[in-house]
């Protein structure tokens, strides 16, 4: 569906996307995971044919985004990072106006609007103005709007940034259903839980480059240990404890500002070893590895900083 080879985006002297390769296949959910400023949105804009690549190759649906922008965009559904709804129009009018951009007839739009508002659970707000809707409702409306042309690929740039947990889950649920219906999803996120929940395959982006690629499970297996022991000490003992912990058998040790992470096969065994050293942490937590740990390993930094 989408294929990039050596794709580059430069803004003056600044390189936002530095020669990345990736491929997205039909029906999958593909993610770009990375912190803010990693080049995710620039990549998305190039896929959305609203930004020309500065170098490399990009083909979308087998077409060239620079020459065939309108044809490609007619088959994409775009959910931008910032809502671009017309706040002064009603929910229904927003879908009408947008459907018109795709040259759909009034009847087709009316029919699809009924389905789509039902799908995003906004049917009862159809005649309301958009302005007073909550952030989560606006997001769902944006999703409904992006589906008006029955797109083959949906591009979602940070689909749940700024939403409360409940609203995020509502959005994830809808996106999951779309995937089940065979829509190809391409999304960017800096939330590792979002990437784990939604993506079949993802690339970890950092500083304009792709650091790793695979399914969430593969990435965790490849770059992290099954379990992680998180330890918290009193601030004045933090550094001393960190040094002493070097002797505990762990595949890797990360000393963060507030916590120490030990990457191990068995967290409980490791905790016993820590106690055997005479170290008593304030809190300890044994958990499974996540994409956050993968990111930390690959870049030495945390995702949401």
């Amino acid at each position: 569906m989408i294929r990039a080879r050596g794709l580059v985006k430069r803004f003056g002297d600044f390189t936002a996307v530095d020669a990345i390769d990736f491929e997205v296949y039909r029906g999958e959910a593909f993610g770009f995971l990375g912190p803010n400023g990693a080049g995710k949105s620039s990549t998305m804009r190039m896929i959305g044919c609203v930004s020309s690549p500065s170098g490399g190759e990009l083909s979308i649906l087998g077409l060239d985004p620079v020459a065939d922008g309108p044809v490609i965009r007619a088959r994409l559904g775009v959910v931008p990072q910032e809502d671009t709804l017309d706040l002064e129009l009603t929910v229904r009018e927003n879908l009408l106006v947008y459907g018109r951009y795709f040259g759909l007839s009034r009847e087709v739009i009316r029919e699809r609007t009924a389905h789509l508002l039902d799908f995003v659970q906004l049917s009862d707000r159809a005649e309301d103005q958009v302005e007073p809707l909550s952030g989560g409702m606006k997001r769902r409306l944006t999703i409904a709007r992006s589906l008006i042309n029955e797109p083959e690929i949906m591009l979602l740039d940070e689909p749940t940034t700024g939403l409360d947990p409940q609203a995020r889950h509502a959005v994830w649920d809808r996106l999951f259903r779309l995937k089940q219906q065979g829509v190809t999803l391409v999304l960017t996120t800096h939330y590792m839980d979002e990437a784990e929940q939604l993506c079949d395959r993802l690339v970890v982006m950092d500083r304009a480059k792709i650091a790793a690629e695979g399914s969430p499970r593969e990435l965790i297996e490849r770059y992290s240990t099954p379990e992680v022991l998180e330890l918290r000490f009193e601030p004045d003992r933090h550094q001393v404890a960190a040094e002493k912990l070097a002797s505990v058998l762990a595949e890797r040790r990360e000393v963060l500002a507030d916590r120490i992470l030990l990457y191990v096969t068995d967290g409980d065994v490791a905790l016993a070893a820590v106690r055997a050293l005479g170290l008593e942490p304030l809190t300890s937590l044994v958990r499974r590895s996540t994409l956050e740990d993968v990111f930390l390993r690959l870049t030495g930094r945390r995702l949401e900083d």
């Binding site: 309108p70 559904g77 002064e88 129009l89 947008y98 951009y101 040259g103």
Partner: protein, 273 residues
């Protein structure tokens, strides 16, 4: 529903820019449906107030001094075509500033449109069409009110309508090409105060340019509003000459074309980053 079923409808060969621009025009019309009543009232009130106060009120004073300087007609008749062109200018400037910034910055409806098949130039041209429509409405209402007040002497006045619209478009395209590059509305106030108001007052709307000091006249002749005023007036008074008309229309059409070329470029730069 949102699967890959009805593809025929959306994978037709690419359409021409005009079709896309009309889609953007329809967006503006949908929006306008909410505010058209209010806009009609102001379109009616504006000529009534100005023609009433200046044309009839001030006009009786002016005409007491004789009408030689204004071409031997009543001041009301002299004023109406000038105000017609000036109305086109103010309408166009209003439509080319805040609505454009709102679309690209505050509401980001332009970004929404550019995620659809529409290209930046289509979005620009669609808005131009909407402005042309608004200008036609406003100027037609103005002419009707002027005619009802007895300010129109010749059937040629009907030809002043497209001229007034063209005057507006010269302002619309050039200002819109610039407005799309803005991030804040502060400079709009500067345009209004130091651009539009001086033009409104000194481009022959209220008195002939010949009343200006000699050194100022060339500046007035160079402004787009003067060309609009001069041709509208020549048409409503029935004194137009072909040569003069061609110069005025050529000037206004040329400026409009420059604005379109500049806008195609600046819309693209703004929406395709």
């Amino acid at each position: 529903m949102a699967a890959v079923t009805t593809r025929e409808a959306i994978t037709r060969p690419p359409l021409s820019g005009a079709v896309f621009a009309v889609r953007e025009l329809r967006f503006w019309l949908t929006n306008y449906r909410r505010t058209w009543r209010g806009s009609i009232y102001s379109s009616l009130l504006n000529p009534l107030l100005f023609l009433g106060a200046m044309g009839l009120g001030l006009g009786t004073l002016v005409n007491k001094n004789g009408d030689a300087a204004i071409g031997g007609v009543k001041y009301l008749v002299f004023l109406a075509p000038g105000l017609l062109a000036a109305t086109a200018m103010t309408t166009a400037v209003g439509e080319s500033t805040y609505p454009v910034l709102a679309s690209v910055k505050w509401l980001k409806t332009y970004q929404a449109a550019s995620a659809s098949p529409l290209r930046p130039a289509d979005i620009f041209h669609g808005h131009m069409m909407f402005v042309a429509l608004r200008l036609t409405m406003n100027c037609a209402i103005f002419l009707a009110v002027a005619a009802a007040l007895g300010a129109v002497q010749s059937w040629w006045a009907i030809a002043a309508l497209p001229v007034a619209v063209l005057t507006g478009m010269a302002f619309n395209t050039t200002i819109e090409a610039w407005a799309i590059t803005r991030n804040r509305d502060t400079s709009f106030a500067v345009i209004f105060r130091f651009g539009m108001i001086p033009l409104f007052l000194f481009s022959g709307t209220f008195f002939p340019i010949t009343q200006l000091p000699a050194w100022l006249r060339p500046i007035a002749y160079a402004t787009p509003l003067w060309h609009g005023v001069a041709l509208c007036r020549a048409l409503t008074l029935g004194t137009a000459t072909l040569g003069g008309a061609l110069i005025h229309v050529g000037y206004l059409a040329g400026l409009t074309a420059i604005g379109v070329v500049a806008g195609n470029r600046s819309y693209r730069r703004r929406l395709y980053v």
